[in-house]
């Protein structure tokens, strides 16, 4: 069954068809939430909220890219979670990001040293992403971590192409500055000024 048919059936209330779409996109949604929120538990909540909201709103889906549509719902869920966290100041985002340990060993050929280095790098990048303003962080994650095109990022964020390019440029520059400030802490393999 192709995606269009699954979408069509989901719009008619077929929950099994919708769940096939969930299985297809849950990894993408969870990873966006994890990078945005920096906390596995909060990312799980946001992902579940995303798919529940998507199922309820299937009738409003007017075609186009389902991936962009569901990522847009995910971005809104993350925004809501961050707003609540800020309001109640449960834990700071920086603390959450430092708790994140989401760099599993990629394959059997990776040496333990390389894995340790990559894990260290992942920690730095998460911390750097947490220092970006929310709008820039979203664009950087969608473009550079998840590999979406400018057009797709514009659809997800509901912004113009010019805004996406501008946010991406500012986000990358800001993240670069963050990494440069802590360069001595970065593994030498990954230092920007070699």
């Amino acid at each position: 069954m192709d995606e269009q048919e699954l979408i069509s059936r989901s719009k008619d209330g077929d929950v099994e068809a919708f769940n096939l779409l969930v299985e297809q996109y849950q990894r993408l949604v969870y990873n966006l939430a994890l990078r945005m929120l920096g906390n596995a538990e909060a990312a799980e909540d946001a992902s579940q909220d995303t798919f529940l909201s998507a199922y309820k709103a299937m009738g409003k889906f007017r075609g186009g890219s389902f991936k962009s549509w569901v990522l847009r719902i995910a971005a809104n869920s993350c925004h809501d979670k961050q707003r609540v966290a800020r309001r109640y100041r449960v834990v700071s985002l920086d603390t959450l990001l430092l708790e994140t340990d989401d760099f599993p060993q990629a394959n059997n050929t990776e040496s333990p040293e390389d894995y340790a280095l990559r894990r260290e790098l992942g920690r730095f990048l998460n911390e750097g992403l947490a220092h970006l303003p929310e709008d820039q962080r979203l664009v950087v994650i969608l473009s550079d971590v998840q590999g979406l095109s400018y057009e797709e990022v514009a659809q997800v964020t509901g912004s113009s192409l010019g805004t996406v390019k501008s946010r991406l440029n500012r986000g990358r520059t800001r993240l670069r500055d963050f990494l440069l400030q802590r360069e001595e802490l970065l593994p030498s393999k990954f230092r920007l000024n070699k």
Partner: protein, 242 residues
């Protein structure tokens, strides 16, 4: 860090470096950036550091979802009279019955339904004459007389019975209306005799059917409210996480 030295061309080129890295510049701007990079070491370093940052971000690996986020919906139930859709008629029905009850009670309190004013107040118009903490043979000035009309009178009477309070007498409203109230001896069980007399008097007018209607409407309001609460609970059982 690479600070902008204020050169307008440097500023312009740096604004395009991100797109240059993504290879999304048009040919004109691409050649402009490339010409400038050959001449400007600061901008070249800026480009390299940005390129490195993007490459680092590309190395961030995806993690598998820790669990499935599929959704479940409850099995479709056969729609009953108490299903969520029944709220459509339950709410107005409750409102109508409640309004009717209020109108009836107000009319009753204002004696609007009496066909013979001063004579027929039905069995519910009770005057409780109670000698509080006093023996039944207490003088009349120590007695307290409370007039409670309508259903409330009956309720007060029932309550008095229920709590075992026997030191009272029930008299009809026509007795109360007399200017000089006679001291009434408290005789347990006396109210039944007096009440029966009043019943006979009430049946001649609208009193007792009116009470029955009021009680019936009150019970109907309670039942309808219970049904609304039940129907609302049915409605809140919606889509859930898988």
């Amino acid at each position: 860090m690479f600070r902008d030295k204020g050169d307008p061309l440097c500023r312009k080129v740096r604004g395009m470096l991100s797109e240059y890295i993504d290879n999304s510049l048009d040919s004109e701007n691409k050649s402009l950036v490339e010409r400038h990079l050959q001449a400007c070491e600061a901008c070249s370093k800026e480009l390299e550091s940005l390129r490195m940052t993007v490459q680092l971000l590309h190395r961030v690996s995806e993690v598998p979802a820790p669990r499935s986020f599929t959704v479940t919906v409850p099995q479709p139930r056969r729609e009953t009279a108490l299903g969520p859709s029944s709220l459509r008629w339950l709410r107005p029905a409750t409102a109508i019955v409640a309004v009717a009850l209020v109108v009836l009670l107000m009319g009753d309190f204002l004696h609007a339904f009496e066909n013979n004013a001063g004579v027929d107040r039905g069995p519910g118009n009770m005057t409780l004459s109670a000698g509080q903490l006093a023996p039944s043979s207490a003088p009349a000035e120590k007695q307290t007389m409370v007039t409670i009309p309508g259903v409330m009178g009956q309720m007060a009477l029932a309550t008095a019975k229920a709590v075992g309070y026997k030191d009272y007498t029930v008299v009809s409203s026509s007795d109360v209306s007399q200017p000089e109230t006679q001291p009434i001896a408290s005789v347990p069980g006396n109210e039944e005799i007096t009440g029966a007399g009043m019943m006979a008097q009430g049946e001649a007018g609208v009193g007792w059917p009116l009470r029955q209607t009021e009680i019936g409407l009150g019970a109907a309001v309670f039942v309808l409210l219970a049904l609304i609460i039940f129907a609302r609970r049915q409605r809140t059982k919606g889509v859930g996480a898988g």
